[in-house]
Amino acid sequence: MKIPVEELRAKAAKFQSRIHWRNAREYVAALVVIATFGRALWKNPHIVPRIASALIVAGAIYIVWHLWKSGAPKFLPADMGRVDCVRFYRRELERQRDLLRSVWKWYIGPLIPGMALSFIYAVAIAPADRRWHRVVGGAVLAAFIWIIGWMNQRAAGRLDGRIAELDREAGSV
């Protein structure tokens, strides 16, 4: 089987554009957050929700900056022929592991200060008989976020195990 070079070129561009589109979706989501909370920062007369909105906007800007700084990963790295199978596989596992491990730091974490402040303010201003609803709602949201972070860390731990197994296998005689 031989594929014409023009077709190969088109397919290579298509593969790479899939990654660019994935990143573009993240940028759009961040822009929506910035626009929504930017508006709240501008319109809300109360100081605490304005600070919370500013924190969320700052967090979203940090996420966008991190995405841009990391750059788009290569779908088919050009050095595939130079790297032997063990090293290539290990590198892919490490990349995935590091991505999962850093989710707290650059994807969830930046938004937490603003969200936490919003929640505290919402509880503080709620009527006494409705306060516990908001506390429970906030606790459920916090638990959900924690579970996502925990699952990512667990997946990163499993990848650590696979890397160690690969090292043992590659090193054993």
Binding site: K2, A12, F15, L76, D79, M80, C85, A170, G171
Partner: protein
Amino acid sequence: MGYAPARRDHCALIRHYSFSTITRLCCKKLCAVTTTSDVRGQNDLYEQAATEYGAALARLARGYEGDPDKRRDLLQEIHVALWRSFGGFDGLCSLRTWVYRVAHNAAASHVIRQRRARPHMMVSLEEVDALRIEPETDRNVALSRLTDLIRRLKPLDRQVILAWLDGMDAAEIGELTGLSSGNVATKVHRIKSILARDFQGARNERS
């Protein structure tokens, strides 16, 4: 075709730039001279590789992916990866080793992506060796079961068995995978034992 810098350009460079800048500029001009021939070389290398190893790449894709549609996608990915890689082919290894490395690495990426979507257990050669499978003498059934088994193997073991079935010797498999020769020899010994014991019908599959 290419770029032929005039003599006066060189004198101007020497008068006005530092040595490191001149070196960098010369490299840029050299790259400009060789760009067109690089692209032709990349395309020629791909044509040669696709002609010589096209069938082997199809077999390799079959060893990694059971679903026919995904296998077709994988094979296309391998060809794209191969073509792209030839832009940086340095000749430090044989064309064969380069082709197999690209193919196996592209396929390994595919396996990683598939496992993210559908996690499933993978087994090692040692675990297969320890199993007692009912021996199969019918060639087609044996080949089908062997292919299914290969797809369940962990990536490194899968790479070794596919390379061995494609006629690579221990040294070539070591160069391809990065495994030590002793490690390769152990795995090849296990492969032979499993084939002889459980897949008698497929014994002559190695081509």
